[in-house]
Amino acid sequence: MTRVVARRLIAMLPTVIGITLVAFVIARSAPGDPLAMQGDLGLRAGGATIQQMREYRRLMGLDEPIVSGYLRWLWHLLHGDLGSSFRDGRPVLVLLAEALPVTLLLSVASLVLGYLLAVPVGILSAAKPGGWFDRASSGLFFALYSLPVQWVALLLVLCPTGLPIHGLHSEGERGVGDLIAHLGLPILCLTYGSLAVISRFLRSSMLEQMGQDYVRTARAKGLVEAVVILRHALPNSLLSLITLLGLTFPALASGAVIVERIYGLPGIGKLTFDAVLGRDVPVLMGTVTLAGAVTMLSALTSDLMYAAADPRISLAARRP
């Protein structure tokens, strides 16, 4: 297993280089010429003084030719030095460390909720494909799938749900219950769209399993249909859901940009938005790199989990 993990990590190296290169090129292309920052742009640049920006660009290699500049920024990255925010001078690494838990909490909670809702629906749909439940649920989920997230988020703000609509905590509160209440609506916004994907994926995977010989055998020996489905077909289908797990993160992070903005949650999405708004290049570079890295790691994790859970799969199966 260690060799497998090592091999996968090495195979990821080009992707890591690509991700960091993209972040570097974005930062390099940002208007860094003090003259370009006059007027409107200068105002948008928040608290950054021209001196500060020059210093940063020199330090991070943004002024150098692209290859040596990139190597210099990579060097800083490997040492955990991402520079400081133009806005308030705080280290980017600290800002990222503060924001990441919020987005992770949102994502994980919405993943769990999504699976809790969609898995039973997928099972029931597969039990009677084409039945009324199958058609009604797939119709409903299909409609949810097409709803723009900013619309749903705003509608939920308008609905008298009684739940708080801004921030992580109420004034003077620090309790867990308060936090959960504040995250309720945002989590809902991030969850509804994935229901269709998960339930349909599970349904088609279940239907495929139901056509297998071992299911026929289970039926032939006289098992109740519910047992056939839950004990025989389901476990194999659930395995394939693991692959979906790691692949959902980028979608969640995209949604989080909007949801965090509307509900005022201090996560990676809001950090990115504020960085773009204030032309805070160091922070922007940090969030782009982090988002790419987390996505890649979540894909890796789900691959490894899949391999660990399903003995038929071997990550080392690649032919020489």
């Binding site: 991700i19 974005i26 208007p31 409609a143 703000v157 922007l284």
Partner: protein
């Protein structure tokens, strides 16, 4: 027609596919005829002895100051809504504080600057469909080009393209687009179109590559190569036609997704610039005074329009997939939500992770 089993017949047999097509056509018609639904100039006008045809489409210098008041012997044929998407009322005629609630004059009320929401909504269909279709065309073209290159040539081309798609698929798309748009000196509709179109081809290219890999091993391709056709001819005549269906399906679903991305970017303020009549911008404006009931239509109407248009393209794309590939279960395109490694999400059957789908030579 009964008994025919072409893809078109299979597509037309499902009612929901036809609903999707109907919805898409209705919205396309709205976009094309926006000036006939909402305009501050009449379609047909008889004024000071002259007959003006389509004053709503063409700018007549004599009509610039025309405010709609007519002498007894003059007449005009107006569009149903007598406001343009950019009309800001003159100070003298201001009815009340903005945004105004819906009234007989303003069907859906106005925005913060007194512009008619209905007119902006109707003209917004152009922005959404324009961005959606343009981005989807770019997605199909780039996806086909890179997918065919990778699948048919293999080797270095395949390796390079695979790494680029890996990187592209490693970013949460909205976050990446926001970052790219954010460093531009100012965002335009064209830049929005371009960044969406240029980042969405990776998934398509993988689908096309897989299909090209499958097809290039088939006997008829070998036969054609044996008969001496050039590489270009083999790709163009034998491999490309097989790859069109996955690209078409991905492209159709891509229209809906691109429309959502544009509205999200515009909502955040980094897509279509003011005063474009973009649905995302309308919602952003409505969200600013979200607690004011008069601003509700600004949030509700564009969202509903977005929902309808995205549903339409998702229905069509899903129907096309089923019709073009009868084996498929009609699984939703996971690409809209998910970045799939090796396209495993497309098929529930376990495929060795990291395994090469290329048949062993």
């Amino acid at each position: 027609m009964k008994g025919t089993n072409t893809a078109a017949a299979r597509f037309a047999r499902k009612k929901r596919n036809l609903i999707g097509v109907g919805l898409a056509l209705a919205l396309a018609l709205t976009a094309v005829l926006a000036d006939f639904v909402a305009s501050n100039q009449p379609i047909l006008l008889r004024r000071s002895g002259r007959l003006y045809l389509f004053a709503n489409l063409f700018d007549h210098r004599e009509l610039r100051g025309f405010d709609g008041r007519l002498a007894p012997d003059e007449w005009a044929l107006w569009p149903p809504c007598r406001h343009g998407p950019y009309d800001i009322p003159a100070l003298a005629s201001v009815a009340g504080p903005f945004p105004e609630p819906p009234s007989a004059d303003h069907l859906l009320g106005t925005d913060n600057e007194g512009r008619d929401t209905f007119a902006r909504l109707v003209h917004g269909a152009r922005v959404s469909l324009g961005v959606g279709v343009a981005a989807a065309l770019a997605q199909i073209a780039l996806g086909l080009a890179f997918g065919l290159l990778a699948g048919y040539l293999g080797g270095w081309a395949d390796f390079l393209i695979a790494r680029v798609t890996d990187v592209l698929l490693s970013f949460p798309l909205l976050l990446l687009l926001l970052a790219v748009q954010g460093i531009l000196e100012r965002t335009t509709l064209l830049s929005t179109m371009a960044v969406i179109g240029l980042t969405r081809w990776a998934e398509t290219s993988r689908l096309v590559r897989a299909e090209a890999l499958r097809v290039r091993e088939l006997p008829y391709v070998e036969a054609s190569e044996g008969l001496g056709s050039s590489k270009v001819r083999t790709v163009w005549r034998h491999i490309l036609p097989n790859c069109l269906s996955p690209a078409l399906v991905a492209g159709t679903l891509g229209v809906g997704y691109a429309i959502l991305l544009e509205s999200a970017l515009s909502f955040l303020g980094f897509g279509a610039p003011e005063p474009t009549a973009s649905w995302g911008l309308l919602m952003a404006e409505g969200s600013r005074d979200i607690l004011d009931p008069a601003a509700r239509p600004l949030v509700l109407a564009p969202g509903l329009a977005l929902f309808l248009i995205v549903t339409a393209f998702n229905l069509i794309g899903d129907g096309l997939r089923e019709a073009l590939d009868p084996r498929a279960q009609g699984a939703l395109d996971p690409s809209a939500f998910i970045v799939s490694d090796q396209n495993r999400a497309m098929s529930p059957a376990p495929i060795p992770a990291g395994g090469d789908p290329r048949p062993a030579a």
